[in-house]
Structure formats: structure tokens, C-alpha cells
């Protein structure tokens, strides 16, 4: 039942998105009118309508599934609700934040100075605790990648 509830939430989000896309985004950001053949907005509108229809179908099928399950459910045994936001997800948010910071630093300070630091942070986040190994892998990887891409393949990393 937890999965069905998650699906209903996603279905509602997608349905609202399709309504916003159809009524606000497409009229404002899809321009042009064809005098022969299909207009530029035809396929975006078609896809948005289908998005709305299938989102509704997802909501209704999952709701029906919950309704059927509730009828059959033993009241004493209830499924454990799994929190979407849990400890593991905070680790994911930290990883996203580190990658986000990496892109900003990469843009301003280049590959060579930022990569070892970010790599070390990521390895720590993934569970490595041996500082010598962190230092070794982060520096070695940076040097190898730098020579491979910048010097070998002539792909500028700045």
C-alpha cells in the first residue's frame, strides 16, 4: 500500500504539471504557427495531454488497488510505513551538494585544484575512513585524469 500511495503522489504531481504545461508554459514558450503541416506546438500539446491522461490512469489504478487491499487487509497486521526522507537520503543530499559545489569550484578554479578535494570528500561520504588511502586515490586519480585528458586527448579542463 506504501508503493501505491507513492504512485498516487507522483501521479498528482504529473497531472498538475501537465495542466500547467498545457495552459501556461506551452502558450508562452512554444512559438510559431505552420501554414502547412503541423504547428510547433502540436507534439508538445499532444505529449502533455497524454501525460495528463496517463497520470490520471496511474492515480485511478493505484487508488483502486488500495481500495481492494483495504477490503482484504487484516487490521492487526499493518505495513510499516517507510519514510521517504530518511537517514540514507540525507547522505544522497550531501552527495548532490558536494557535486554542486564541485561544478562551481571547477568553473572558477579549474580541474587541478578542486578535484582532489572533492574526490576526497566524496570518498569520505561513501565510507572510506583511511586518510592515507583517501589522499593517495584523490591525488593519483586527479593527476592521471589531468594528463590523460588535458595532455593526451587535448581536451581542455579549464
Amino acid at each position: 500500500m506504501v508503493i501505491e500511495k507513492k504512485d498516487i503522489k507522483i501521479g498528482i504531481i504529473l497531472l498538475i504539471s501537465s495542466v500547467i504545461n498545457y495552459n501556461i508554459i506551452i502558450p508562452r514558450y512554444v512559438r510559431g504557427r505552420a501554414f502547412t503541416g503541423l504547428s510547433p506546438n502540436f507534439f508538445p500539446e499532444l505529449a502533455t495531454i497524454l501525460l495528463g491522461i496517463f497520470s490520471l490512469a496511474l492515480i485511478l489504478t493505484r487508488w483502486y488497488s488500495i481500495y481492494n487491499k483495504k477490503k482484504k487487509e487484516d487490521n492487526k497486521r499493518k505495513e510499516k510505513e517507510v519514510e521517504i526522507v530518511s537517514y540514507e537520503n540525507y547522505r544522497v543530499l550531501i552527495t548532490i551538494t558536494i557535486i554542486f559545489i564541485y561544478f562551481i569550484l571547477f568553473e572558477h578554479f579549474g580541474f587541478l585544484w578542486t578535484t582532489p578535494i572533492i574526490l576526497a570528500l566524496l570518498m569520505f561520504c561513501f565510507g572510506m575512513r583511511n586518510s592515507k588511502r583517501i589522499l593517495f586515490f584523490s591525488i593519483m586519480t586527479t593527476v592521471i585524469l589531468f594528463f590523460l585528458f588535458e595532455k593526451g586527448l587535448k581536451i581542455p579542463l579549464h
Binding site: I10, T36, P40, L119, G127, F137, L145, L157
Partner: protein, 482 residues
């Protein structure tokens, strides 16, 4: 062709191609573009030995990270992930890479032989493809969505529709007016496929793995015991032949490329399989299908290039440039005036096939060393590698943000059990399909009958209807079995 120099050239080409394919973000097209300047002063046969070796090596190389770390090295290897990665998780990484190698070599050899004997004839058929034929071929290809949707067809269709919408971002293909660009100049050319693919598959995998901290001593993938047996290969031969024929046909049609070929081969193999429920969970035929469909395009794409001077895909478009640089004009005249070069190139292609088998098997041993590294090294390095690969593609920082966005989208999709493949398929096929449909309707004055009155187009529509019907039956059968 059979000189030590040319042999050495093929070895360099194949090795470099495998390397380029194995690193996410680097592609065969990029590899060939990088190596062309080094071939200026070589004679044409040696030059093409290196270039075509690179092309072949890259098509196989993309499967290595796809199998080991769920990160396709090239767009065409996105399908290899479906069964290759689960096989690796079951401790069969060596077997998966082995069957990928054998499938690649056999399919590639098949289409190379077809190129040698029937290039001109097949090219004439490919020339009969107009917008209606492209449109119905894309519609047929989209039926793949049903077979890669996993447990929920509705979720698969929703993912495909979202991918379709992302594919419309950029300039309208007919009128060149902006769509969904929000005033951002970067978006005028649309979102690059490589960025979407790496974000959806690679970055999302990094985020999934970030959820669980591991002990430092733990290895990520159990080391595989044993490679491909004769029984394994025998069970995949029909699949490899199917992939070879599909890849040959798709490759010969200009503008389609290896990615739809591998998706189509996978879908057809699953459809006819006695155990379709095993696909997506480590079926060896799934890997064979993906790689044979993918690699067979190499020979197929060279057919319109050499016979007519029309490149079959992006990589052969770059090769066309290489031909020009060496003073050769691909087409019928090439066969008449430079037949010794043409047959030298054919010999080079066959040599590259053979060397792919040898070099590929050694590279499998080398890349398998990755499995000995802990997860806390593999995935942070993967994230950095993806960053460099994506940045190196266009030298654009905006690409990095888009990659991260798709990484988060991919992560959320996986958490909510939405399949990634339909989004990618629809995203890739939307531009080709939309342009073809709109061109067809302009040609017919708005009448949709053009899709049924042209025989090849009607045939693909018929295949699409049959495919949908069969796929629904298979899904129903799978549900009953479960």
C-alpha cells in the same frame, strides 16, 4: 593491407577505440575526430585502418562500464546496462563482458562481409526511404517502450512521454522557432543526448550507491568465476544473427544510428524469447542482443557511405571528412577509380574484427581489475569521470548542471520505480520521428494516408501493430506466471 605497419595501425585504432568507448562521455565520434589529424601524412589504407579500428573498438568499449558500473560508455551501450549490470551483480561480470565481446565481433564480421558483397544493392534499397518510412520506422521503434517498461506499463509510458517532452526542447525542426528554451541560448540546440544519458544512468547510480555507506574492506562486485562457455555462445547465436540483421538494416538507413538498433534488437529478442521474464534480471541473451544490434551498425553504416557517399550516422559523417582529406570521394566512383583502396579498407575491416577479439579479451581482464576496488573509490571516481566526459563534450558548464539535474531525475525515478529506458528511447527518437512525420504530412498535403499507401511505410506500421499486440500478450503471460 597485410603489412606490419597496417597491422600496427589497426591495433592502435582498436585499442584507442575501446579506451574511448569505456570512458563515459567520450565517444567513437570524438575519438575519430581526435585521431584524424594524426592520419594526414599516412597513406589512405593505413589511415582508415586506424580510423575504422577506432570505430569498431568504441562500439564494444561502451559495454564495459555499462556492465561493471551501470554506466553506459556510449549511448548505444545504454541497452547493455539492462542485463549486463544485473549479471555483474550476480558475479558474472566476466561472462557478461565475454558475451558482449563475442556478440560484437560476430555481428560486426557479419555486416562487414555484407558490406563487401552487397553494399551497392543494399544502398539502393536504403535510398527508397523517405520521410514516411522514417516516421513509421520510429513508430515501430517506440513500441520498444512496452518491453522495457518493467512491471508497470503506465509508468513506462509516463517515462516515455516525459522523455518525448524533453526531446521537444530546442528549435522547432521545421520552422526553427524556439520551444521550451525559456530565453536560454544554450537550450536552442536542445539538450545533448550524451548529457541526458550520463545523468540518467551514471549520476543516478552514484546517488543510489551514496545511500549506503560501506565498510572500507568491502568490494563492490564479486569477482567473476569463469567466462563464456560454448553452451552460452550457442544459446545466443540466434540472437546475435537477429541483431546483425537488424543492425545491418538500421545502419544502412542514414540518420538512425546504433542506439535505436540496439533497443530494437533487445525488444525483438525479448518478444520471441521463451523466458521474457528473465530479461532485465541478468539474461545473457539480453547482453548479446544489445551488443550485436549495436556493433552490427558499424558495417551497415558504412554501406551508404562507401556505396553512395551518404553517411549512415554521425561517426560515418566524420569518416566522410576523413575520406575527403585523403583525396577520396565516397560513392560509385570510389569503387571504379580506387578499387585497390576500397578492397584495402575491406581487408582492414576484417583485420580489425579479428584484432577486436584479441585486444577486447585482454581489455576485459584489465577493466575487470575495477571490480577489486571498493565502492568508496569506484563511484566518486565515476562522478569525476562523468564530469570531465560531459565537460569535454562541448566545453560547456551548463552541460554539467543539466547532467546533475538528470542525475537527480534519474535517482527519483528509480526510487519511485519508474523505468529509465523509455525516457531515453523517447528522447532519442522524438527529433527524428517528429521531423519525419511533419515532412510526410507536408508532402501529402496533410493527409495521413501517405503512411499506408507507401509499401515500406505500411509494412513498418503493420510491424508496429503486430509488435504491440505480441508485447501485450507477453506482458499478460508474464503477469500470470508471476
Amino acid at each position: 593491407m597485410l603489412t606490419l605497419g597496417n597491422l600496427f595501425a589497426v591495433i592502435i585504432g582498436v585499442s584507442f577505440g575501446i579506451f574511448m568507448g569505456a570512458i563515459p562521455g567520450l565517444t567513437g565520434t570524438m575519438g575519430i575526430a581526435l585521431i584524424i589529424p594524426m592520419t594526414y601524412f599516412l597513406d589512405p589504407i593505413t589511415a582508415f585502418a586506424i580510423l575504422l579500428g577506432t570505430y569498431k573498438g568504441c562500439l564494444f568499449g561502451g559495454s564495459i562500464p555499462a556492465i561493471l558500473i551501470n554506466t553506459p560508455g556510449t549511448p548505444a551501450a545504454a541497452v547493455t546496462v539492462f542485463d549486463g549490470y544485473p549479471m555483474a551483480q550476480q558475479g558474472k561480470a566476466g561472462k557478461a563482458m565475454g558475451i558482449a565481446l563475442y556478440s560484437s565481433v560476430i555481428a560486426d564480421a557479419f555486416t562487414t562481409i555484407c558490406l563487401i558483397f552487397i553494399a551497392v544493392w543494399l544502398a539502393k534499397i536504403a535510398l527508397r526511404f523517405g520521410p514516411p518510412e522514417y516516421a513509421t520506422l520510429i513508430i515501430f521503434s517506440l513500441t520498444i517502450v512496452a518491453s522495457v517498461s518493467g512491471k508497470s506499463l503506465i509508468k513506462g509510458l509516463l517515462a516515455a512521454i516525459v522523455g518525448f517532452l524533453f526531446g521537444t526542447i530546442g528549435l522547432d525542426p521545421m520552422l526553427s522557432t524556439p520551444r521550451f528554451t525559456f530565453g536560454v541560448v544554450y537550450l536552442l540546440s536542445g539538450i545533448p543526448m550524451m548529457v541526458v544519458m550520463i545523468g540518467l544512468f551514471a549520476i543516478s547510480e552514484v546517488l543510489i550507491q551514496a545511500e549506503h555507506k560501506e565498510k572500507e574492506s568491502a568490494t563492490y562486485i564479486p569477482v567473476s568465476k569463469g567466462g563464456v562457455t560454448w553452451e552460452d555462445l550457442k544459446s545466443c547465436l540466434t540472437t546475435i544473427l537477429r541483431g546483425s540483421l537488424i543492425g545491418l538494416g538500421i545502419g544502412a538507413i542514414p540518420g538512425i544510428g546504433a542506439t535505436p538498433s540496439s533497443f530494437l534488437t533487445y525488444s525483438e529478442t525479448r518478444r520471441v524469447s521463451k523466458h521474457p521474464e528473465q530479461f532485465g534480471r541478468g539474461a545473457i541473451q539480453g547482453v548479446a542482443a544489445a551488443e550485436s544490434g549495436n556493433n552490427a551498425v558499424c558495417g551497415g553504416a558504412l554501406i551508404p557511405l562507401m556505396a553512395l557517399g551518404i553517411p549512415g550516422d554521425i561517426t560515418t559523417a566524420v569518416l566522410l571528412g576523413a575520406f575527403m582529406i585523403h583525396g577520396l570521394t565516397p560513392g560509385p566512383i570510389l569503387f571504379e577509380e580506387h578499387s585497390e583502396i576500397v578492397y584495402g579498407i575491406f581487408a582492414g575491416l576484417l583485420m580489425a574484427n579479428l584484432l577486436l577479439l584479441v585486444i577486447g579479451s585482454q581489455s576485459i581482464k584489465l577493466f575487470s581489475l575495477i571490480t577489486k576496488l571498493p565502492k568508496s573509490v569506484i563511484f566518486p571516481v565515476t562522478a569525476i569521470l562523468c564530469t570531465i566526459g560531459v565537460y569535454g563534450f562541448n566545453n560547456s558548464f551548463f552541460d554539467l548542471w543539466v547532467m546533475l539535474l538528470f542525475g537527480v531525475i534519474g535517482y527519483l525515478m528509480r526510487k519511485y520505480d519508474f523505468p529509465l529506458a523509455p525516457l531515453l528511447i523517447a528522447f532519442i527518437l522524438e527529433p527524428i520521428g517528429e521531423r519525419a512525420i511533419r515532412q510526410s504530412l507536408i508532402l501529402s498535403g496533410g493527409s495521413p494516408l501517405i503512411f499506408v499507401t507507401r509499401p515500406i511505410s505500411a509494412f513498418f506500421l503493420f510491424l508496429a501493430v503486430v509488435s504491440i499486440f505480441i508485447l501485450f500478450s507477453v506482458r499478460k503471460k508474464t503477469k500470470l506466471l508471476n
